[in-house]
Structures are given as C-alpha cells and as structure tokens.
Amino acid sequence: MFIHYLKTAYRQYKSNRFFSLINIIGLAVAMAVCFIIFLYASHEFSFDRFHEKSSNLYRLNTEIISPGQTINSPITSAAMGPDMSEQIPEILNYTRIQTGGDVSVFKDDEYYSFSNALVADENFFKLFSFKLVEGNPSAVFNEPKSVVINKENADKLFPEGISPVGQTLRINDQDGWMVTGVIEDCPANSHIQYDILTSFATLEAIGQNVYEWDAYISFNTYVLLDEDFDMEVLNKKTKDLTWEKVNKQLEQYGAKIMLSYVPITGIRLHSNLNYEMAETGTITKLRWFLLVAIFILFIAGFNYVNLTIASSNKRAKETGLRKVVGADKPMIRKQFFLETIIITGISFLISLLIAELLMPQFNMLLALNLSLATTPIWFYGMAFLIFVIFFGMAAGLYPAFYMAKFQPAHILKGDTWIKPGNFSLRKLLLTLQFIVSVGLIVCTLVVYLQLNFFRTQDYGFDHDNLLAMMVGGQTNDKDSELLKQRLASYPWVESISRCSSFPGIMEYQEGFEFEDSPNPMIVHHMQADRYYLETLKASLIDGRFFNAEDGTELESAVINQELARRVGWTDPVGKTLTRNERRFRVIGVVKDYHFESFHNPVAPLVITALGHRLPYTGFWVLIRHDQKASSEVIPAIEKEWRSLFPDRAIHYGFISQIMGDYYEVENNFGKLFLIFSSLAIIIAMLGVLGLSALSARQRMKEIAVRKVLGASAHGIVKKFSYEYVILILVAAVIAIPLAYYIMDKWLAGFAYSISFPYWTFAAGVIISGAICMLIVSIQSLKAISQNPVETLKAE
C-alpha cells in the first residue's frame, strides 16, 4: 500500500507541476530560512556552555552609583576577586582578565598584528575549559612577561618543528616576552575572545595597583561558586564586604558600588551592559528572527493547506473512487498525510541546498561562522522531525480530514464539492497571510527608517574626512607632537590636533567635584590641544576653547552642555571643578556632540588641556583632510610613520568608519530582517498566485458565461479582485495595531529614535494590495483570454 501511495503522490505532483512547485518552493525557502535561524539560535544558546564548570561559573557585574548617575558594567578592579574568594566561602575560586584590544607582536624583525589581546591571571585555566596545546596550564601565567598565543598565530609565527614555548617576542615596544604556551583557537561560542594572552603577573611586576577596590577598575572578574550556594546569602555577604572595602569611604560622596553575579551562560543572550567584551544581548535579535521564522513557516504551511484544499475538486473524483472500491476514511487520511510528508521531505532536502547558498551571506551579516558541514547530526535529526514530521502532520491534517469526508455518491454524480469563493478557511488563512505581509512591510520600513536615522543624524561635529592615528609607547607625548608637525606641512591637512580621546574612542572616566554642587560625579575626561575643536568642527556656545601653547593652560577646562545641565550650572564659565585636589576653571562650554553612539544619550564631558598626562590613555593625532586629496592621505601618513617609527606598527582609523561600526550590528540586523521579511512576503504572494490561478481555473465556466453575456475584461478582473481587496482591508485592521505596538516598543529601546512614521501603515497596505492585485489580475486575464466557446464545450 505504501508503494502505491508513493506512486500516486509522484504522479499527482507530475500532473500538477505548477502547484506542486509553488508548494515545494515556498516550503523549501521557508524551511531554509528557519533552518538557518534555528542553527543561529542553537549557536547563541550554546555560548559559554563548553566550559566544564559552566553551571557554576559567574561573572561579577558592577553598578557604580553616584548622585545623578549610574554606570552598569562588567568592569571590576583586580582586587575584588581575591578578597571575595578569601572572605566569602561560597566563592571557591576566581580569575581576572583584562582586554587589551590590538597589539603588535614582533618576532625578530617580522611584525604580526593581534586583535584580541587579553591579560589573564594564574587561575584562568582552573575556571575555564580553554585548552592549552602546549605548556603547563597551572604555570603559564605565573611569571611576569609571560605570553600565550593561539594555535593559528603560533603556526604563523613559528615554522613547523620549532616549539613556540621558550621563544621570546617583542610586544608593542617592549622586548623580552617569553612564550609559555600555545592555546587552542578561541571557540566562536565564547563571549571571551582572545588570540594572545599575557600574564597578570606583569602588571604586579610593574607596580600597578591591583590591591585596592577602587583602583584601576578595568578587569573582568569571574568566580566559581559552590554547588549549593544561596544567592540571597551570597548577595548579603558580598554587600557587607563591599561596604567594608569601598562603600564606607564612598559614602561621603553619596556614591557606592554594588556587585552582582551573572551566570556565564547568560551573558551572550541577556547581558546589556556598557563595556562588554563582545556583542551581547543577542536574545532581542534572536526573538525577532525566531518570530519571522515562525511567520515564514506558517505562511508556507497556509499556502500548502490552501492550495491543497483549493485543488481538491480535482482530487475529489479520485477520493470518491477510492472509497467506492473499498478505501475507508483512515486509508484516505493516511494517503494524504503521506503525500504531505513527501512534499515536506522533498522541500526539506531542497531547503538544505538553499540554506547552504544563503549561509555565507548570513554569516557575513551576523559575523558568524556557521556551517552546514559542521552542524551536528542531531540538529539535522531535530530539523527533520520538526519540518518534515511535525510540520508535515500539521499542514497535512486539515487536507487529510477534509478529503476523507468526501461522499462518493455526490462526487461521482459530478457534484462540485467546493463552490468557488465560498469556503471560509481559505479566507481565514489568506487573511492571516495578509496580516503577516502588511505587518512585516510596516516593521521593515520602520527598522529601515530608524537605521537610516542613525546614518543621517547630526553628530554635532563633522565626522567625514577625519582620521585618527594612535601613538603609543613610553614617549608618546613627544612622538605624537613630532608626527603632528610632520603631517601639518602637507597641503591637504586642513587642521590637525593632538588629544587623548576622540569621538568613537572615549574610554576614560573620572570622578570630579563641582562648585555649587554637593554631589561628585564620574564623567568622561579627555585632554586635547587648542586645535581640537576646529579639527572636529564642533561648536562652542559659551566662553572660549584653549588658545595657548600646550602645557600653559593646565588650570582650564572646557565642558559640554550636558555636564552644565547635570551639575545645574546656568552660567558655567568661571565655575570650578576639582579632581584629586587639582582645580580647573571652566573657560568654555562646547555644544553637545555625540562622542558615543546614538544608543546612548550624550554624556557629561570634561576636556582639559594637554600637559599633565592622564593615566592609561594614549595619544592620538587627529587629522582633518581635504576631501579632494583623499587618495593621498593614507600613503602620506604611512610614509611619515615609517620614517619616524620604522619598528612600530601603525594604527589609524577614519572616524566615520569607527562611528559607523557602532551601527554595524543594527545595520546587519536590518539587512537580514529585510531579507527574511521579503522572503516571507514572497512566499505569501506565491500562495496568492497559486490560489488565484486555481480560482480562475475553477471559474472558467463562469468567466465564459459572463463573456458570452457581454462582460468586459475590466469588469471581470474587478469582480475577481474584489474578494482580495476585502481580505487585505480586514488584514490591515488587525496588522496595523499589532505592528504599531511592536515597533513602538522597539523604537523606545533607543535613546534617539524617529517619531513613529504612520505613513508606513498605508505603505504596508498599498504594497501588499498592489502585489496581490497584480497577481490576481494577471491570472484573471489569462482565464479571460480563453475562447468561451472552447471553455463551455469542455464544461
């Protein structure tokens, strides 16, 4: 019987190529999109679960609360981990890491660039399951100036047969780093990313204060907790210890530090803090994609149900006959279920091919490295079960029961089982498809407009034709001045400045006290020379900017509007602010400009004159160039760099690109959302195509009679389109409030967003309607073009 069903199914598909193709294409594309999204979801959920102790590994998060300001981040001081581990029994062990970003590594005279440098302490391998390929995990970080490099780079640096362990390297401008180990390449599903790790002991050796709770808050601390810990008790003990160690002193400033624990396995999906090491909070993106995946699957399923039922007139005679010769209802149902399973099975196989084709694009847009080849077999099994069996059963359920109900006596008498245009399930499913289509068009437009808003927003300074070069090393003050002087002589340099930070790279915050204000505040602090403001093309709204030689205005400060507003100064020029006994007088107020992304509101900023060096900041040379000379800029700066610092790697970047990178995640999300939404709409419209073709075919006789009686083509098309217009309008009534609710919430998540573009509602309805009308009209016109005599003869 099974073989018989297979044969029947095959011949059915062959004789209904057009509709089978619509079904298979729709299902295959839907499954491919869902397969990729499910694979992505599985990747995101797998983050940090490869650590053997992952269920008991937590990260310390800090909440630094000062009057009028709260900063949430995963950044701690180096002292917290050891003290807590010693005094809180629930904490069995700890490890600290510090991100170092880009470093230049020199082996002999060869230069290599690493982009994910980490400082790690001696407990690193005790908590994490990263594997050493060479070296002793309990000793690699014990000594100062020890370095562990990843396998990929070790293979590049050292030829085969030479063990990297025991070799020495120069890192940035420091010689004498000893390779103590080679570590496996970092797994993609780790929120900690590395390609080179240096020992924490190095910091201790150079005398960095790693023993105070409020010194150098720049580390990530991870703790291993006891199996049976009670979070409430742990929090209480942590709070008490924090009070002892730091909050007792901070109380006088109205500030405090709150520590909390987040499971390591939840960081990638749920964390939403400043200063994360890599992208986090992906659950939002994932939810969107999963929602679209489900929509797409539903649309394809609805198409299947709709087309099967709409074409059931053709199958009715067959079903009736089967019943006449002995088939009962369960047999008929089994046959139709099997046909659905075969369709979903074929679609599944094709979907894997489509997924393989779409995967590179998806990987590129989400910065992933997913691959069908490395997808575990259980995932295919699950996908098969979900798409072919569950989905196949669900999609096949209604048609199977519907077909089994046919009464052979009626069918064989020639009764038309389905009266065209008169069955409500088809209308219901079509309406649902239109709801999804209209809704997705509105959502896609809103996402696009919001992302475009980022691109076109006024940053408060001109970010085009602006380039920053980093000057590191012990003598960076002198070196950066030298570089600035060299470059200033080029005719295409419109303006050039030295500074410790610039928009895009603002990494230094300090606590200040303010005149007339009882509350100290932690604010962004940077240093710049007198050319900074004109180089940025930012504007001053009060007072003046620095105008003297470097090192001569050390008591002056320029603040931004936001700082004045927060402190409550209405006339800031002349007011004073203090940091560690150093007093600065405000000489000017700069108009707020966005030095961070539009995700955050403009934060308070203090700019002081170059002269006394801020700890932990490098020097940057900021160059504004003539746009016409763009092509000359890079060769020139590379040439000057090589001539001044031949043994140092050059680091530079365009501000527009650095700022643009902030939105890369959203841009790529937007692009993918657009792709998936378009696919959903295409699949829905494929369904409309199939249905309208069937409907036209079933109404051939009606069309012929109308033509004979003198109806115009225009009149017939209008009549046939009417039903769809009504459905789209009903769908719009449901889709619009839903889309508004969802998108309004989404926009509320941004510090700066567009006001809701209500015209997108009309656009959603018009676009869906226009595509649908086009399809229906073409199908109707095709039917109308038939000779009515032929049609009536055939009927």
């Binding site: 019987m1 018989h4 029947t8 004789s15 005679k317 006449v324 010769v325 088939a327 009962d328 052979p408």
Partner: protein, 234 residues
C-alpha cells in the same frame, strides 16, 4: 440478496426538499440480472448508490445479504462494500494517474491482499478480458470501450457477489456497448448478481427482470423478455 422495504430518500437543501425515492420496495435474488429503467431524474442512480452502500437512505429498510444495513455507519458500509460489490459507471471513473494494472489492483490493495496474490488476480482478469497488452497504459491512452473494459475488470477483480452498473454503455458506441454487456452477461452466468441502471432497451434486453421507476416510485416490474417484446410490438 437485496431487499428494500419502503425505501425513501429525500434530498434537502436550505430551501428545497426533493423526494428522490418514495417508499420503494423490491427484492433481488442472488444470481439475478436486473435492469432498472426510467426517465432522467426518476431516482435510478440514487437507488443504485443506496444499493451500493455509497449513500444512506432517509427512511425505510434495506437488507443486503440478509442483513439490515439501514443504520450502518460509513465504516461498516465501506467494509461491506469492498468485500461484496463491484461498480461500473457510465463515465468509467478510472483514476487518470494510475495505469490499467494499478486501477484494477486498487480494490485488492484496500482488501489488504499481498502483492504477489494481487498480481496473480489482476493478470487473471486482464487475460480474461483480453487487455493484457494494455496493462501499463494510462486511462487517457485508451479508447472508451477499452476504458470500460478496465472498469469492468476493476469491478470483478475482488470477486464480488454483486456488480452494480450505472449506464455502462452510455458513453460507448453500439459495438463496444455490446462487448461490455456480453461481459456482464458472462459474469452473471458464472453466478454474479448484476444490476444495471439504463435508458437503453438494448441493454435491458440482457436482464432477466426490469424494474421501472417514475418520479421515485416503482411503476412496473416485468420480465425483460416480455418488456422488450411489448415495446417492440407496441
């Protein structure tokens, strides 16, 4: 074999009620060849569908092989039908997507017969009906006569006790029509009960008895020979 007592069938739509069969009572014995005649719309096909357990009656009684099947469920009727009744239709009603062999094999599949036994049985009837050479053809590749021959093969392959034929020659020319009637006659001689619904006096002449319907009621029951004689002398 078949007995009806005051069998009534009423079709109802929202606005109209039509009595297709009105208190029809008759009996057909095993091995009989009966023709049901009457003008269009008199209820012939409705009666055939009820006799074939394809449709249920509105009131009255219907005995099939001595069993009262008036209240049988659809499943029970399907079960009884597949073991006892073969159908032949005016428009052949073959499944276009199945080959000649597969169309004939279908009733055996639903009887749950094994494939080798099915093959044997199908080949037997193909041989018997002399269409073995067409076994792999599809219905649309055959002439009307050949299609009806296949339909007869399908009706007899499960060796039913009774064959119901609804205008079996309606779509055939006289030569092919005679061929089909001869086949049915041969089957009847071999013990199968045959009931045909027909407009054709020529076809009715093959029957031993004729039931005449008019407006859903039996008007006469004649011996076929007498009826044919009467109508030719009239």
């Amino acid at each position: 074999m078949i007995k009806t007592v005051e069998l009534t069938k009423i079709f109802r739509t929202e606005e109209v009620e039509t009595t297709a069969l009105n208190k029809v009572s008759f009996e057909i014995k095993e091995g009989e060849f009966v023709a049901i005649m009457g003008p269009s719309g008199c209820g012939k096909s409705t009666l055939l569908n009820i006799m074939g357990l394809l449709d249920n009656l509105s009131s009255g009684e219907y005995y099939f092989v001595e069993k009262d099947v008036s209240d049988f469920s659809e499943k029970q009727r399907a079960n009884l039908r597949k073991r006892n009744i073969g159908f032949v239709f005016q428009n052949f009603n073959l499944i276009d997507e199945l080959s000649v062999f597969e169309n004939i094999e279908l009733p055996l599949i639903y009887l749950g017969m094994g494939s080798s036994e099915r093959k044997k049985r199908v080949e037997e009837v193909l041989e018997q009906m002399q269409i073995m050479h067409r076994r792999n053809h599809f219905p649309l590749q055959l002439s009307g006569g050949q299609q009806q021959r296949v339909a007869v093969c399908r009706a007899v392959v499960a060796k039913p006790k009774i064959i119901l034929a609804d205008e079996p020659t309606g779509n055939l020319d006289s030569t092919h029509g005679d061929e089909v009637m001869n086949l049915l006659e041969t089957l009847n001689k071999n013990g199968t009960t045959i009931i045909i619904v027909t407009h054709s006096q020529r076809d009715a002449s093959y029957a031993q008895r004729i039931i005449r319907l008019f407006d859903g009621q039996i008007v006469t029951e004649d011996k076929a020979a007498e009826f044919v004689l009467a109508s030719t002398t009239a």
